[in-house]
Structures are given as structure tokens and as C-alpha cells.
């Protein structure tokens, strides 16, 4: 067997709803963000100690925490950016979490998703945080800039006005990418209606947009700090799409490979059964951009490998260049809960080590073996 295996290393049950789990860079610690039954926000810091987990710190705040990221934090400071249910974005120093380093009312309602960049990726532009919210706006923040976003990507104002507020789309997923030098930067955003948009922060324009069949839950570039290469997108009804982002055709856009049943359960007997389940999250292995994991609504995690085609670019009939998508292979799958696994984080420094959270109020440390063979 030279296929990787997914193993549960440690399991911690908590008494609140877990919303996000993140490793603290360059440490054996991770944070768990969640919501207590009284809808207070809670952040626990755990440390990995051989074969047990040790809780180091608990922080409680008024609003429930939804999502967090260390992407904009340098190695020496390691500040966590958190988005909460009331639309507030705070940057916390984990040593002194009582007083936020940066605190701003970023959105009117819940911040669904957050991504950050520029902390440990040196020479790739300024540290920035992007948030996506139920109010339909995507905003980019720089903690040096006071109370206003540096880039505001909101739907046109008239859409939200009047009787029908539903026309504002709910932003479910955001991701940074294409940040290979100090200027270039792209934000990808996925919405509840299946809209997928790429915003170019250098040109301040919409680079590309398309609409998928159903809502976009997860979104990630395979690597943030290179000229965009691939982007994985997961959807509400179990779709998993991987776009080849190297070549943009003038009309057809980016080409992709789609896996329709990524969320459905494959039984131990290999029969696909049950309803279509959401694929909640997608996370690329930091040490290998062609391998990524998806966390599904059936409580399973799956490890995928993307294989490039022989030729990534072909000449289209009208003279333009067109990208060619590769193929997806499922390397491994494991069921770890009866509830959806909705957050997953690979350790940035240790290949194969990960932490994930599920809606069964459990946090698990996962080991993926044999990833070094790929």
C-alpha cells in the first residue's frame, strides 16, 4: 500500500459549536473558534503534547466567532484575525487577547469567511485580510488603515435597498491568490447563488466571473504566492471543481475538471448512495500543491490528487489560447463523524499533520501518512 492513509491522532470533545480550527504557525498549538450555546464567542488554544492535547488558554467574547486566519501575521507576532457573527473583524494577540490589536466593524452582519496574506509570504505585498459577509460585500483590510477597508467590493447600492433585500447575495467563500510580487493580487469570491468572481486588486476590476449550478461553500487557490495556477471550488450539492488558472480564454474563461459526487458517501462497498451532500471546505497541502483535502457533509474527509494533462494549453479554433484541465484522483477517504466536517487546516510546517472541526462538537488532529511519496 503506497497510498496515503488518513488517521485520527487525537480527539477532543468540546461543549460549544466549532466554527474554525487553525494551527498557530511555527508551533505545536492550534486555536479553535466557536460559538457557545449563549452565542458568546469562544477561542481555545490547545497544545499538542505527545499523545494528548493540553488546553492552554480560553478566551470568551461577546459575539460568536465564525472564522479566523493567521495569514497576515508575521512569524514573530502571530496575530490571529477573527471574523464574528456581528460583522466585526478583530486582530488578536494571543498572549493578550483581552485587547484587540485591531478592531473594526467590517460588515453589517455575520462574516462568513476570511482569508489573509502577506505575513509569512515575504516579498509578496503588504499584509492584508479579506472578509466575505452575508451582506454580500467582500472587503479587503489593512490593519494600518484605521476603520475603512482598503478595497471595498460591494454589490451596487440599489440592490440592497427597498423592500426586497434578498437580492444581495450571501458571500460564502473568499480566497487570496496570484500574489507573486508586491503589486499583483487577486481575490476570488464565491456566493450562495453559485456566482464565482475574480477581482483583480491591482487593476481594481472584475477579472472574470461565472456562475455555477449551486452555492459555493469552499474556495482556495492551490498556492497564494505564485502566479495563479489552480483553484479548487466546492459547492453546496457535492460538486468539486478544479480550475486551471494559468490560461484565461477570452470567451470561455478558465477550463476546469469537475467531480460531481465529491460530497456523497461512498460506502465501504464502493456503492455511491445517499443524498447529495455539501462539500464544505477544500484545503491544499502546503507542501504539495497538487494534493488537497475536502471535508464533506457526510462527515468524511477525502484526499485528492490533481494530475496535469500532457499539454496545459492548446490553441483554440479562433486563435486564442485555451487551458486544459487535468484529472482528479481520489487517494483516500475516511469517515470521521456523523456530522459535516466543515473546517480543516494543514500544519504549515509539518507535512501530513492537520486539525479539523466538525459539527458534532469535536476537534480532531489528523495525520495523513505517506504524503511525502507524492
Amino acid at each position: 500500500m503506497d497510498k496515503p492513509q488518513l488517521l485520527e491522532h487525537l480527539h477532543e470533545s468540546v461543549n460549544y459549536t466549532v466554527y474554525d480550527t487553525k494551527w498557530i504557525p511555527l508551533s505545536a498549538k492550534f486555536v479553535v473558534l466557536g460559538s457557545k450555546p449563549n452565542s458568546h464567542g469562544i477561542m481555545d488554544i490547545y497544545e499538542l503534547n505527545e499523545d494528548k492535547l493540553e488546553k492552554i488558554k480560553t478566551v470568551e467574547k461577546k459575539a460568536a466567532f465564525k472564522c479566523g486566519s493567521f495569514g497576515a501575521a508575521s512569524l514573530r507576532n502571530r496575530h490571529l484575525a477573527i471574523g464574528d457573527f456581528e460583522g466585526r473583524l478583530q486582530v488578536l494577540d494571543l498572549e493578550h487577547p483581552e485587547l484587540a490589536v485591531y478592531n473594526v466593524k467590517a460588515h453589517n452582519t455575520i462574516i462568513n469567511t476570511i482569508d489573509a496574506i502577506g505575513g509569512t509570504q515575504l516579498e509578496c505585498g503588504a499584509p492584508e485580510i479579506v472578509t466575505g459577509s452575508r451582506d454580500g460585500a467582500v472587503r479587503v483590510w489593512d490593519i494600518r488603515q484605521g476603520q475603512a477597508p482598503v478595497v471595498d467590493i460591494s454589490p451596487a447600492p440599489q440592490m440592497g435597498d427597498g423592500v426586497n433585500t434578498d437580492t444581495r447575495r450571501d458571500c460564502w467563500a473568499v480566497a487570496f491568490g496570484n500574489t507573486f510580487n508586491n503589486e499583483e493580487r487577486i481575490v476570488a469570491a464565491g456566493y450562495d447563488n453559485g456566482d464565482l468572481k475574480l477581482f483583480d486588486l491591482r487593476a481594481l476590476a472584475v477579472r472574470w466571473e461565472t456562475t455555477l449550478k449551486n452555492g459555493i461553500c469552499g474556495l482556495e487557490f492551490d498556492r497564494r504566492d505564485i502566479p495563479m495556477n489552480k483553484m479548487a471550488v466546492t459547492t453546496l450539492e457535492g460538486g468539486l471543481l478544479v480550475y486551471d488558472m494559468r490560461t484565461q480564454h477570452a470567451i470561455k474563461g478558465f477550463s476546469y475538471v469537475e467531480e460531481r459526487n465529491a460530497g456523497r458517501s461512498v460506502g465501504t462497498n464502493g456503492v455511491i448512495s445517499g443524498p447529495k451532500a455539501t462539500v464544505w471546505t477544500v484545503r491544499h497541502v502546503p507542501q504539495n500543491r497538487d494534493i488537497f483535502i475536502t471535508g464533506g457533509g457526510t462527515g468524511s474527509i477525502r484526499l485528492w490528487q490533481y494530475e496535469y494533462p500532457d499539454k496545459r494549453v492548446i490553441d483554440d479554433t479562433d486563435g486564442g489560447k485555451m487551458g486544459v484541465a487535468g484529472t482528479l484522483e481520489m487517494l483516500s477517504a475516511a469517515t470521521l463523524s456523523t456530522q459535516p466536517v466543515h473546517c480543516y487546516d494543514w500544519h504549515p510546517d509539518k507535512l501530513g499533520l492537520a486539525v479539523c472541526g466538525a459539527f458534532d462538537q469535536g476537534v480532531r488532529v489528523i495525520i495523513a501518512t505517506k504524503l511525502n511519496l507524492f
Binding site: 505545536a28 503534547n49 503588504a126 478595497v151 464502493g270 477517504a333 470521521l336
Partner: protein
């Protein structure tokens, strides 16, 4: 099934008779076999474990990547799946990362100083999601004036006679395409220009400032990150990117950059950038003189650059460190084959490695009985003249498997040898003199003797 649902058998329209060992054995259609496997697995037609296994095996043969071989298991616990030895690296890693973690925690600083050296902030801006792209508006505007110029009056019948609608359509299409291309090209060239400008704009200054701010531990850590990024780029065959990442790793932590240099060298080689690869290998060897990979790469790069003689020496150096390095041995063998044609003089030195195996028997014979020219003459008479003194014997032995053997000079020498016996040493000795490297020549011959001894011992 009663409530109107089709069974899989009906759905796939596969006759019941196909669920049979005989049919499955002969079936060559992977699609059909997939369906059969699905029917068997579903248990709708009853449970046949053997038949199912047979069908699965056949399918594996026809389509090993079939989606039907995707299984999902309940997750296992690491205690059961991994033994203590496999878990140990993880525990060790946690220990080492904790010390790093603590060291890093001491470097903590307040926010003001941490943001001081960063890039300037973006100017606040808005992106309107509903905005139409300007490119689309440009093309139709450009087309319109052109069509009006070519307008033919409705009364001008002679011109209308000549008018060919198809040709005009084609022309319009072509023009449209050209316009589109132009716009795109403009767009692209602007982008490219911007990229280049940004890349060149004082990156070095910024980088130096940043590096100055970092502690040694951080530098090491960042360099390691860059190197890992580079490795990762390399793995996905993105060599340009890998070179950039390795370059950063080197810039951030020059004292520990041996591996980064080494890896950058191989990336350069993949891009056929041999001169750069040579430089990197040399830089790596300065830091780690015994790095076998770097030595080998240096030799490879020299060879690819066309500096074959240098590469030969370098391969020899590899062998000094690791005598049974397969790559070096193979390369030397290859080189020596080529040198047979290119430079016969040099070939005497090259033969050493390659020659040892086929001529083992001869070595034994000669060493045990040096004064035995007769049997050798039968095999390859050319070697006899030199065989008398031991030193010369080596030379002769070395020359022999080359194509040089067939050259006229040697055959003449051979003829001479037949005539005059020992006096024929002189013409054959000219070969090493042509090489003009008698000093190097001697040690190599000595080395080859050693090889011979070794071989004898092995036998």
C-alpha cells in the same frame, strides 16, 4: 422495485445472462463491466461474493482507475494504525517546534514597530461588481466607421455586380478577429510591462531592509520556507518559480544555503541553463565540499555545456567520494565511448572504469603471468607491444576497447609490433604523449591497477 423503481439491471439494460463467470472473463468493455460490478454489489439480484470478486478483478485489469475502486472507511486511530516508531518523528517534531516557538515568542514586539518596514498600504478603492469591462465596448466602435467607408450606393449596379457577400462576410469576420487580437495584445503587453517594472523596482533594497530586521532564527525559518516552496514548485515542474524561491532562500540565509544552491542548480539544469547551474553547484560545494549530489550535478552540467573533459574529471571526483556511484560510472562509460571518436589521446585515461569488467580475465592472466604475450595476441594483438613492463601494460589495456583500436595508426603500430616485437613500444607510447598530461596519466594508471586488484579479490 414494486413502487415503479427500476432495478439496476433494467436501468443499465444488461441481460441477466451476463452475470456469469464465463461472460465476465471474456468481457473487454470496461463500461459494461463497471455496470455489472455495480449490479452485483447492490445485491438486487442476490449475493454472489465470488462472482463479484471475479468481476472486480477483471475490471481492475481493464480500468485500474475506475471510480468503483474508491472506498471510504471509518477513520482509524493512529495508535492502532501506526506503531511507536512511526509516531516518534511526530513527537520529536513537536519537541523541536516548541523550542522554536519559545525562541520566536521572545522576539515579539509591539504593533507599531512590526508594521514599520512593511510595504506601503494600498490606496483605498472600490470595485463595482456590476461594472462592464471596457474592452467589450471598444470593439464595436472600431468596426462601425470601417463599414461605412465601404458602403456602396444602392444605384451603383456595376459595383453591386462585383459584390460577393461571402467574401465580405469573411472579411468582416477577419477584421473583427484582428481587432480582438489587437486589443488583447495591447492588454497583455501592458500587463507584461507592468510585471517587469514591478519585478525590477528596488526589490533588492526592500529585501535587504527586511533581512536586516530579522533575527537569525527567523532568517533560517523563512529561508527554509522559501526552500520548501521551491521544492514544491520544482515538483510540479514550475522551474522558473522554483528558481525564484530558491534565490530568496539563498538571500535570506546564505550560510545555510547549500541545499538551496543545490536545488537551484538542478532547476537551472531542467531549463538548460547550464552556466547558471555550474555556478550554483560551485557555490554549494564551497559550503559543503563533500556534497555528492552537487558534485554529480556539476559534472552533469559541465557535460551538458559541452565541457566534456572537465566533466570527466568531475565525474572522477564523484567516484573518489563514492566509488560505486552508478550515475557517475554510467556517465564515464558514455563519455569514454564518445572520446573514442573525439580525442583518442584522452581516451587512454577514460577507459579505466568501463574496461574493468570485460577485461577481468585478462587482468588476472596478465597479473599472474606478466610474461605471457601469446594468448593476448590472439584476442587483440595490438596490446602485446605494451604488455611487457607492468606500467605499459595498463596503457595498452586502456586503449584496447576503444575504437581507437581500429584506427590506422594503431594498426600500423600493431604491424610494427608483430615485426619488431618489443621495439614497437615507441609508436604506441605516442598516444599518451599527445594527451600532454603525463602527470595525471600516471596516477590514473595506478588507480586502474588498484581496480584490477579489487576485481581479482572479488573473483
Amino acid at each position: 422495485m414494486q413502487d415503479g423503481k427500476k432495478t439496476l439491471l433494467e436501468k443499465y439494460q444488461i441481460p441477466l445472462s451476463h452475470l456469469d463467470f464465463g461472460y465476465i472473463e471474456t468481457c473487454q468493455n470496461a463500461r459494461e463491466l463497471e455496470k455489472i460490478v455495480q449490479i452485483l454489489r447492490s445485491g438486487e439480484e442476490g449475493h454472489f461474493p465470488d462472482l463479484t470478486r471475479c468481476a472486480e478483478e477483471k475490471l481492475k485489469e481493464l480500468n485500474p482507475n475506475s471510480k468503483l475502486f474508491r472506498f471510504e472507511e471509518n477513520i482509524r486511530h493512529s495508535d492502532k494504525a501506526l506503531d511507536a516508531q512511526e509516531l516518534k518523528p511526530i513527537y520529536d517534531w513537536t519537541e523541536s517546534i516548541k523550542t522554536k516557538d519559545n525562541a520566536m515568542a521572545e522576539l515579539k514586539e509591539d504593533v507599531c514597530s512590526s508594521t514599520a518596514g512593511l510595504l506601503p498600504m494600498r490606496k483605498p478603492a472600490k470595485i463595482d461588481t456590476e461594472k462592464k469591462e471596457p474592452v467589450k465596448n471598444v470593439t464595436p466602435q472600431q468596426e462601425k466607421p470601417k463599414t461605412t467607408e465601404q458602403r456602396i450606393k444602392s444605384t451603383d449596379y456595376s459595383k453591386w455586380d462585383k459584390y460577393d457577400a461571402d467574401v465580405e462576410l469573411l472579411r468582416m469576420d477577419l477584421e473583427e478577429e484582428r481587432n480582438k487580437e489587437q486589443v488583447e495584445r495591447k492588454h497583455r503587453s501592458q500587463e507584461e510591462k507592468a510585471h517587469i517594472k514591478i519585478c525590477k523596482d528596488g526589490v533588492d533594497d526592500l529585501r535587504n531592509n527586511l533581512i536586516k530586521k530579522l533575527s537569525p532564527l527567523e532568517r533560517e525559518e523563512y529561508a527554509e520556507r522559501f526552500r520548501m516552496c521551491g521544492n514544491e514548485c520544482f515538483r510540479s515542474r514550475d522551474y522558473d518559480c522554483a528558481i525564484a524561491e530558491y534565490g530568496r532562500a539563498i538571500a535570506y540565509d546564505p550560510p545555510h544555503a547549500a541545499r538551496a544552491y543545490n536545488n537551484r542548480a538542478i532547476s537551472h539544469m531542467k531549463l538548460k541553463n547550464y552556466v547558471a547551474a555550474i555556478e550554483d553547484c560551485e557555490a554549494c560545494l564551497k559550503l559543503e565540499p563533500d556534497n555528492i549530489k552537487a558534485r554529480l550535478r556539476l559534472a552533469d552540467a559541465n557535460y551538458a555545456q559541452g565541457r566534456r573533459r572537465e566533466s570527466y574529471d568531475l565525474y572522477q571526483k564523484v567516484l573518489q567520494i563514492e566509488p560505486d556511484n552508478k550515475n557517475a560510472l554510467k556517465a564515464i562509460e558514455q563519455l569514454h565511448n564518445q572520446f573514442g571518436e573525439l580525442a583518442p589521446a584522452h581516451a587512454t585515461r577514460l577507459t579505466i572504469e568501463e574496461h574493468s569488467s570485460p577485461s577481468e580475465k585478462e587482468h588476472v592472466k596478465v597479473n599472474s603471468a606478466p610474461a605471457e604475450p601469446a594468448p593476448k595476441q590472439k584476442q587483440k594483438p595490438e596490446s602485446t607491444p605494451k604488455a611487457a613492463p607492468t606500467k605499459d601494460y595498463d596503457l595498452a589495456d586502456l586503449v584496447k576497447p576503444n575504437r581507437v583500436v581500429k584506427s590506422k595508426l594503431v594498426s600500423a603500430a600493431e604491424a610494427l609490433g608483430k615485426l619488431k616485437g618489443p621495439s614497437a613500444q615507441q609508436p604506441s607510447r605516442e598516444l599518451p604523449k599527445e594527451a600532454a598530461m603525463p602527470i595525471i596519466h600516471l596516477p590514473t594508471s595506478a588507480q586502474s591497477k588498484d581496480n584490477n586488484k579489487l576485481l581479482i579479490q572479488e573473483i
